[in-house]
Amino acid sequence: MDTLNAFWSGFSVAATPINLALVLLGVFLGMVIGVLPGLGPTTTIAILLPITFTLDASSAIILLAGIYYGAMYGGTITSVLVKVPGEIASVVTTFDGYQMARQGRAGPALGIAAIGSFIGGIAATFLLVLLARPLAAFAERFGAPELFMVAVVGILLVLAIGGQSLPRSAAMVAAGLLLASVGQDQVTGVSRFTFGSMNALGGLDLVAIAMGLFGIGEVLANLDKSGPSKPLASRIDGIWPSREDFRRSKGPIARGTVIGSIVGLVPGGGSVLASMASYAAERKVSKHPEKFGTGAIEGVAGPETANNAGSTMSFLPLLTLGLPTGTVMALMFGALLLQGVTPGPTLVADHPEIFWGVMASMLIGNVMLLVLNLPLVGLFVQLLRVRMGVIASITVLITLLGVYSLNNSVFDVVTCIVFGLVGYLMRRTGFHPGPLVLAAVLGTILETNLRNSLAISDGDPTIFVSRPISLVLVLVLVLVLSATSLKALRSGRKDLNQTLKDHDSVEGATR
């Protein structure tokens, strides 16, 4: 009952005219920018972060959350119409969504994606509301060793489940942690890796780094691409799915909601794993799995529902444990820090207006997403025609102005440009900037809690296995490490066998 009352009180924050306008603006901006070629939710949030500086903390996070799910849906539009997923979670949508568009059914594909996203988002928001308080109450028992282990396990799960090359992602995590240590040491006051620069004493600005890696890096990478993608349809008629479409989508939407709500909680899982798990589940339960990949509406409805439920649920670890479970959540974490709010177990109690306000705004935002999407889809289709060069010039200007306005500092802008170049080189050499930003955000938390833990135990590292919660987290860590190593070993053996087989066949052919 208390929870429901608290949730209800969130509407007094979310339903103020300014916050309603911000949700609307966020969802609309997110959808518009998410549709523009080359800009996914992460880039969108990164370049729009400075807009939030003039707002209070709850309004800032309400706006960013709106941008997030707006941009996620923008990515769906490009997945269906041009087979270009706005972000990884929408990759699955290209399998059947694009095929539906080729058959002249882009409207129902986008319609069912919007309806599924709406249902998934609403259900996940209610689940989030129910789980938040118990989880935060449990997490309040965490001391420095537990907080350290939670962050370590979180990063490790992101690496293990993220689906990218493990050594490369781990290298980026290490680089991110090193970046976080630039500046004056908080305990001793000694300056680290500043090379005599007074500007670097306070550390490198995380927002400048993120805007460089994602905004400028993406623009520079797009300079290498040849031309814009052509949408399959110049206008969309009949977005509302037929009765038969609804009948076929009921099950996938229900299962997608459950799968997304569970998987979204896992660090590294989020919307990506949720949409993939949902697609796999739908194929498994279908009487006609062979139809998947040829334009089956179930292959759009399930994953899109799970995707939105998963992205909603990923707010839970951020707001209750202070654990960003992915890159977007790391940016949200950064945005809250900029507002002077540290996400963690005490957030619900210390800043109820932020927590419950954001929860209530999610419900409002999901309604707006649905309402905006249906009449405006034609406009979004036209946006797909905007050339990359035009988008790039505007993105660069907004990004650089945004970074400068952080602290009116030329040093921040130079940092942003340098990290833009780094981001570009990373993309060309197969490294992803996500783990780097995540680690840069968590770096200070990890270091502070490690040092506090060692201070509590007089330098004895067994403190991490002598406390029950921390011991459980160590066991989870060992389990994840063992499973990941086993998987890598198996895949290495498979590759070796394949190489030997290829070698034999080449030798056989040349003999």
Binding site: A171, V173, R192, V219, L220, D224, V390, A392, V396, G430
Partner: protein
């Protein structure tokens, strides 16, 4: 004849699948070693407690271990094979961004936005003269109205414009 997706060519600069990525591994190893040496000099312990160099030393060690994994591990296939390395565009883009800083701090935000916006649109994006001029002026006007008039952000303002 259509090319099979299995035999797509890698873009220049990216190694083909199955190669070893020695270059990335070496760069990371050098960075890691540098970080570890500097951290060591900062001090790993101080009066029995963790020193300022301990944490970066551990991170450097992790990076060094990963650099071996990167060097000896397989190279992932390029995300987007339809890319072509364009060094002149890249260098021009970066130079233009630095020019933006210079113009912003000397002449003001609107001039910087219009000049850099126009140059980017015309010479990097290869848009028409007319579109480049119109769009650059429109972006400059929007920046003035949003950043200066509406949000009142204290950006360096051009002498000919009122705040």
């Amino acid at each position: 004849m259509d090319a099979s997706p299995d035999v797509e060519e890698s873009p220049p600069g990216a190694a083909a699948r199955g190669d070893r990525d020695w270059a990335s591994g070496a760069v990371l190893a050098v960075l890691a070693t540098g970080a570890m040496v500097m951290s060591w000099q900062l001090g790993l312990t101080r009066e029995g407690s963790p020193g300022p160099g301990l944490w970066p030393f551990l991170c450097g060690g992790l990076l060094l271990a990963c650099s071996a994994g990167v060097a000896f591990g397989p190279v992932p296939a390029p995300e987007d094979p339809e890319t072509e390395f364009r060094p002149i565009k890249l260098i021009s883009a970066i130079a233009l961004m630095f020019a933006f800083i210079l113009l912003l701090t000397t002449l003001g935000v609107v001039t910087a936005t219009v000049v850099v916006g126009f140059t980017w649109l015309r010479f990097i994006a290869a848009e028409s003269w007319r579109l480049s001029v119109v769009l650059a002026l429109a972006v400059g006007l929007t920046v003035y109205l949003v950043f200066i008039v509406a949000l009142d952000i204290p950006l360096p303002l051009d002498v000919f414009l009122p705040r």
